[in-house]
């Protein structure tokens, strides 16, 4: 995956819970909340509420959405999945 021209801008592949994916461009100094919102917009039309979803990266839910994308260790070309916070329980 090629890096955009601004060195602070990276491409991240966001993947929904059904495996559908989209690539978004974000600035590494933006907060994770921004990545979650643009990811939901890229995956779903209309996008659901970000409050009901979480970012999962390397098997860990990124719970502090005030962290920047850089602080979360997300780099150009990485894959992040967007998962519902709650699952239906029987």
């Amino acid at each position: 995956m090629s890096s955009p021209q601004n060195p602070n801008t990276i491409s991240v592949k966001v993947i929904g819970q059904e495996g559908d994916s989209a690539t978004v461009e974000v600035n590494i100094h933006q907060k994770l909340h921004h990545l979650l919102e643009v990811g939901l917009k890229a995956l779903y039309n209309p996008p659901p509420s970000a409050n009901e979803y979480e970012l999962v990266f390397n098997g860990i839910a990124l719970s502090d959405l005030e962290k920047t994308i850089e602080q979360a260790g997300i780099h150009n070309g990485n894959r992040v999945t967007i998962q519902p916070k709650d699952v239906s329980r029987g």
Partner: protein
């Protein structure tokens, strides 16, 4: 259901399954000798390793059956190889049932078999999402149920 057709349908979903597995922290593989058996390896931060096994017989007319295997002997499966996840909804009745729609144990359980779901709910990428969630239902207490 014809086995060759199930293999073909699993192949349809395989690339999406691989894509979602990585951010979920799962490493996917298939059994060379049994192409309807899928393994998903997960390693906790303390280095405890688990292998979820999806038996995809009659996929996608039927959901994958979920079990866990000895990481060093994948033919050795059962409750002793499941992780104890404190906040996970688990029922132990004629095997172990993860009480979340998507795996065979849930959909054949007497409490749920009357429920109607679209089969998309048990497509492999989504089932991986469920298992990824299961591993995040901490605290993790150790191996064996």
């Amino acid at each position: 259901m014809d086995t060759a057709l199930s293999i073909e349908i699993l192949r349809r979903d395989w690339n999406k399954a691989l894509e979602i597995a990585e951010p979920l922290g799962l490493m996917l593989s298939r059994d060379v000798d049994a192409p309807l058996v899928v393994y998903a390896e997960y390693v906790f931060p303390n280095a405890d390793k688990y292998v979820a096994v999806f038996l995809c017989k009659d996929y996608d007319e039927q959901p994958p059956a979920l079990d866990f295997a000895n990481p060093d002997d994948l033919a050795n499966r059962g409750r002793q190889w499941w992780p104890q996840m404190t906040s996970a909804p688990i029922a132990i009745e004629n095997g172990i049932v993860l009480c979340i729609p998507g795996t065979l144990g849930y959909h054949t359980h007497s409490s749920h078999k009357a429920e109607v779901h679209k089969k998309e709910i048990w497509y492999l990428p989504r089932v991986l999402s469920i298992v990824g969630k299961f591993f995040r239902m901490v605290p993790y207490l150790g191996r064996g149920l």
